[in-house]
Every structure is written in structure tokens, then in C-alpha cells.
Subunit: 232 residues, 2 copies
């Protein structure tokens, strides 16, 4: 296949946003006396994710970093969880929950193996600062942080995949997008990239995620270690 | 000082461009029967560096990646070294000499120590692909690759330093530029960044480089290990 670089979706594919946001929210808010459904809070926050980016994709909003969209979304859902009176400091702290999400258990070993063969970069909708801190939190070693911020638009817009290939000075067919979401892979394939699906069937709770690809892909993997084995 | 991120100039500060280009050129061209003054070739190639970028800075050329400027500069100097008839493949190979430059001996240990305390990123005029491959060659672990390509302009234009701080979501006074060149540090300081000078007195041959800062800086270090010690 002559693939030289792997590009990774992050939220859901590499890290567990749901468990992570729930855990961070509880760690920050429970000591302040708040008792809410932490998983429901994570789900509600994430539900605002695509609609917020869609305004940017549609050209209704200029490009804004995901940290800013996350904060805007947090402020939208706060009233629903009785968090209207949160201090600015607590809101800021809470917004960095996305900087401290845990990797799925198979990721560290999988990435270490893949690193021996390929250039590795996140091609996520997250901003560079968020990705850099998430990498520190989990010990990821990326070759660069690509994705929405260097493209000035959000996936699945073609510009994001094209900008990633261009940043590594590689033609699209030498790059492979790795994601747990078929819409992401379909968009990457339309730009000429190779694609690998990684199953995350329990992404947002039991049986909520994709247990397999819903579009044609080059590789369908059960997890990152399996992906490394298939690409070896 | 509350510095959270260190930004690094690369050519001359972190890696030995002169010895590296000379060595790579010899490794590629000597087997083809060429016998030239390899260090003079490296110097001539580097001499075209600032004039080429100046056209971009002055707005006479749209932003072009350094790999492209290097190639253009190579084609300019080839006749002077009897390399007019080099094949396209050899030219391409030669142009990637800049991807394989060796770090100065103090750099690996210095960066490892600094990494325990700070976010680390190159803020170089090199493009992302060049920096990623240079990092692989030397085992550098950057948190992100910032610099000219994400800014769309070349140092010492203020936009390059500002874009780096913004990418890490940090105010300039929490970022420190590390360089062996006073002009780079003066420009960073004018943008509000902290500055550290690292002495590379033999950068382009004995006593050609700066043995100390020629402008006011926050830290003047003899090498990267000394820098780590001063910032600890």
C-alpha cells in the first residue's frame, strides 16, 4: 500500500470522551457540592459538538478553536444541570476536561507499534493546544499536530484532510485516516486517502458506537493493536 | 517567570546545518564521482536562505514552504559547483539533506530535561514536513510543530511568534524563544515573549557564530544542558 503517514481521529477513536468528561466533571464539581448525572452531562455537552461546528462549516461563523466552541456549548447546557451559578474559574477548569481524557486501553501499545512504521498525527477537530495537552496527559508521541486548526475548517470538510497530507508533503494515497466513525472515513476516502476503521462499539455507552465500518474501507480493525498487526 | 512553553529556533541552534549539509551532500554526490568543497557548498546553499525568505517577507512572493525555497536555492548554486547536470532524482535527494541534520551534542539531554517542565515546539522557518522528519532523525519529542508554515510568513516577522503563542493558547510572556541568533530573540522580545540565548560560536565554522547575546535577553546559556539548569 506504501502508506507513509497515519492520521488519527481522536475523540471516540483514541480517547474515551464520555467516561473522561464525566470523571473530570465529577472531580471538579463534586467537591463543590454538585450532584448530577455525570454521564448525562458528558452526553449533553457532546451533543452540542456537531451543531456548533456546523455553523463554521456552513460559513455562518468564522473558524473558532474547539476550546472556544466547547466553552460556548458548556454555557448552553449549564442551566439544564443546575450549573448556572458556576464561577468563571470553575467553568474554565471544567472546559479543560477535554485536555485530560483517557486513552482506550489498546491505544498506547498500538501507537508505539505503529510509530515504528509510520509518521503519526492527530487529524482531529480539536485545536493544537488541546491536542498537545491531551498528548502530554496520555504520553502520546505525535510527529506533528495537524487537523482543523491548520486547515481553518472542521471535518468532514475536504480541506482538513487535504491540509494534513500537504503538511507532511505526501500525496493522499500515501496517507491513511484512522477513525471509529464511518462519516470521517468516507470524507477522507473522497479526498483520496486510505482508510482504517477501528471499532469502538461502546463509544457513548454500551452498543452506541460502530462495531464495524458502514462504508468501504481499506482496513477494518477491532482495536489499535489489531490495526498495528494488520498494517505490519 | 511562569514560562510554560519553550519555542526553538532549529537551524544553527538545535542542529548543525553546516556539518550536516556537507556530510549529506558528500554521501549523495561522492559515489556519483563528484569532488567538491562540501563545506563551501553548504555555506553557499545557506547564503541563499535569507534572500529567498526576504522575498516572502516583503510580499514579493506568496508564502512558499522552506523545502521549496531550498530547492530553488539549490538550483541557483549548482552551476557554481559543477552540478548543472545532476538528475532530478539526485536533486530531490540532496534537497532532503536538511531533513537529516545532526543535533549539537548537548541537545538530546537538554531537551529531555526541559521537557519535564515545559511544552516544547520548534518555531523555525522550516515547514512542518521537514521538521517532522528532522525530529524522527534525531529522536526529538516535540509537543507540536509550530513556526513559519502555520503563520504563513517567515521569522523575524512578528506573526510567526504570535501564531506560536496562540497555537498553545498562551500569552506571550508565558512563552520563551530559544535561539542562537540575536535578531530572532530581539523580534520575539518585541512580541512580548521571554528570550533565551544559546551560544553556538562555531555555527558556520570556527568563531563565526554568536558566543553570547547581542541584545538584552532573559537567559544567556552556554548550551542546552546549561539552559535546562538555569530554568530548573
Amino acid at each position: 500500500m506504501a502508506v507513509k503517514a497515519l492520521f488519527f481521529d481522536i475523540f471516540g477513536t483514541v480517547v474515551d470522551w464520555r467516561g473522561g468528561v464525566a470523571r473530570e466533571a465529577e472531580a471538579i464539581l463534586a467537591p463543590q457540592g454538585y450532584r448530577i448525572d455525570w454521564l448525562a452531562f458528558a452526553d449533553a455537552w457532546r451533543d452540542e459538538y456537531q451543531p456548533a461546528m456546523e455553523k463554521v462549516r456552513a460559513g455562518k461563523l468564522p473558524f473558532s478553536k474547539l476550546d472556544l466552541l466547547h466553552r460556548h456549548n458548556l454555557d448552553r447546557i449549564r442551566p439544564r444541570f443546575g450549573l448556572d451559578d458556576l464561577s468563571e474559574d470553575l467553568c474554565r477548569d471544567l472546559n479543560t476536561a477535554w485536555h485530560r481524557l483517557p486513552a482506550w486501553p489498546d491505544v498506547p501499545e498500538g501507537l508505539t507499534r505503529l510509530r515504528a512504521q509510520f509518521l503519526l498525527a492527530p487529524v482531529s477537530n480539536a485545536n493544537i493546544g488541546l491536542m498537545a495537552r491531551l498528548a502530554r496527559h496520555n504520553g502520546f508521541h505525535w510527529d506533528a499536530i495537524l487537523g482543523a486548526e491548520i486547515a481553518g475548517d472542521y471535518k468532514p470538510k475536504p480541506r482538513v484532510y487535504e491540509a494534513a497530507c500537504e503538511a507532511f508533503d505526501l500525496p493522499p494515497h500515501e496517507c491513511m485516516m484512522v477513525a471509529a466513525h464511518s462519516y470521517d472515513l468516507a470524507a477522507a476516502a473522497a479526498c483520496g486517502l486510505r482508510t482504517a476503521h477501528v471499532a469502538r462499539p461502546d463509544e457513548a455507552g454500551p452498543s452506541t458506537g460502530e462495531s464495524g465500518p458502514r462504508v468501504p474501507v481499506d482496513v477494518a480493525a477491532s482495536d489499535f493493536i489489531n490495526l498495528a498487526r494488520q498494517l505490519a
